[in-house]
């Protein structure tokens, strides 16, 4: 409640309140004095406690108005000059403190949010970096595997070719040996059965012819 008790205005309106009270007291006093004069019985009735309502006994009016004006005037002075400004001061200080604390809290929150954003940003960076590293590594491994696979395949096919070649040469050898042996056997048979001496070239040609024929 700021400015509730602004000094200049307060002084002015204290004056108005004071004037009201004084005017009133004077007016009421005059009227009541007249009333009391016209009702002398009632004025003395208060002492006997049998004159109806004590509130309506005009003899009491001056003292009531006098003490009311005095006490209320003092109360108004004390409240407006001493007591209320003190309360207002404390309330204002508290309000100020609260808004200052709130502003500080808002600022701290903002800072915390900035830090959080920073952390999240660096976290995202790290994650992206990790992903590229994983990608690179797996590509490397893949390439490595392929190279080794290719080397293995080449090695295997070379060995296969070599084996096939050696098998083929062995076969040739074996066939050649079989021809020579067949030719020898055929010469031997011919010499034993028919007594013909066939020379080895002739026998080999004959065996070759037969093999060609059976193939």
């Amino acid at each position: 409640m700021p400015n509730l008790l602004a000094k200049g205005r307060l002084a002015r309106w204290s004056g108005v309140a004071g004037v009201s009270l004084v005017t009133l007291t004077t007016m009421a006093g005059t009227v009541l004095a007249a009333a009391a004069e016209h009702a002398p019985d009632a004025a003395h009735g208060g002492e006997h406690a049998s004159g109806g309502l004590p509130q309506l006994n005009p003899a009491n009016f001056p003292t009531q108005i006098f003490w009311l004006a005095l006490t209320f005037g003092v109360l108004y002075y004390l409240m407006s000059k001493k007591a209320l400004p003190r309360v207002a001061e404390v309330l204002e200080a508290r309000q100020e403190r609260i808004s200052r604390d709130l502003a500080k809290a808002a600022q701290l929150k903002e800072e915390a949010e900035a830090v959080l954003a920073q952390v999240e940003k660096s976290l995202a960076g790290a994650r992206a970096e990790a992903l590229t590293l994983i990608g690179q590594a797996s590509a490397e491994i893949e390439a490595n595997n392929q190279a080794r696979q290719a080397a293995l395949n080449a090695d295997l096919s070379a060995r296969l070719t070599a084996a096939e070649a050696s098998i083929a040469s062995a076969k040739e050898q074996a066939i050649a040996n079989v021809r020579i042996a067949s030719a020898d056997i055929a010469r031997d048979i011919a010499s034993r059965l028919a007594g013909i001496d066939v020379d080895s070239a002739q026998a080999e040609a004959a065996v070759a012819a037969v093999i060609e024929e059976r193939r």
Binding site: V16, T63, F66, W67, F72, Y76, M79, A83
Partner: protein, 247 residues
């Protein structure tokens, strides 16, 4: 036994000033007590000026903020300078009413001359305020806006009378409430005493009935004591608003 005896004014010191009897009476004593209590509440309560208020400080702050809210809501923002006036009125009437709830005290708000003087102070204050604020334009207050001019001879007297009657209704409302409540408490208490003295042993049993009623009435009287102080200050605020805005 007289239920009106409690309203009797008894002088404690004889004082005569300018021909008038202004003796310091039981009524004056409790006015002084009320002012002292209010001042003590605010000064002792706010002595520490704590950021986090204790009980008494809370009470002082609550009363301040309650009346400040009252002024803000009913008299408008321009009424801030008159806050101390309304606060003094509210606290004076409230504490005056509440002191009256303590047995053997005197309720100065049950006296028509006191409530009338207070109400008339409000009336004079508000009228001077309106005159200072609006000058002679103030008298347009008595002719409602938009009313046909032909009705002026009827409307203006009605408005003037209702304006002048304000302090009367304001004061009689408070005085009548306080006096009626306190008289009723005394009458019912008197029933119990009468039953005991008249019916003997039986009276102790039947006397419980008015006693029970009195307990309920006492609670009700506390409500009235607060409510009347509230009504008195709210009307003061509304009159201040009228003075500031002239409708």
């Amino acid at each position: 036994m007289d239920p009106l005896h409690q309203f009797q004014i008894n002088p404690l010191f004889q004082i005569v000033l300018g021909g008038y009897d202004v003796s310091f009476t039981n009524s004056a004593l409790f006015m002084v007590v009320a002012v002292a209590l209010i001042y003590a509440l605010l000064v002792v309560g706010m002595a520490n000026k704590s950021m986090v208020p204790g009980r008494l400080q809370s009470l002082a702050e609550v009363s301040y903020e309650f009346v400040a809210g009252l002024v803000r809501d009913n008299a408008g923002h321009d009424a801030k300078p008159y806050f101390p006036f309304v606060f003094s009125i509210f606290m004076f009437v409230l504490i005056g009413n509440m002191i009256g709830m303590i047995p053997y005290t005197f309720t100065f708000t049950s006296h028509i001359i006191v409530t009338f003087a207070l109400a008339a102070t409000v009336f004079v204050f508000v009228t001077i305020l309106a005159l200072l604020k609006h000058g002679l334009h103030f008298f347009s207050f008595f002719m409602p806006h938009g009313a046909p001019v032909a009705l002026a001879p009827i409307l203006i007297p009605i408005e003037v009378i209702s304006y002048v009657m304000r302090p009367v209704s304001l004061s009689i409302r408070l005085f009548a409430n306080m006096m009626a409540g306190h008289t009723m408490l005394k009458v019912f208490a008197g029933f119990t005493v009468l039953m005991i003295s008249g019916l003997g042993a039986l009276g102790f049993v039947t006397g419980l009935v008015p006693l029970a009623i009195n307990v309920a009435l006492t609670g009700f009287e506390f409500l009235v004591a607060f409510l009347q102080a509230y009504v008195f200050s709210i009307l003061t605020c509304l009159y201040i608003r009228d003075a500031l805005e002239l409708h």
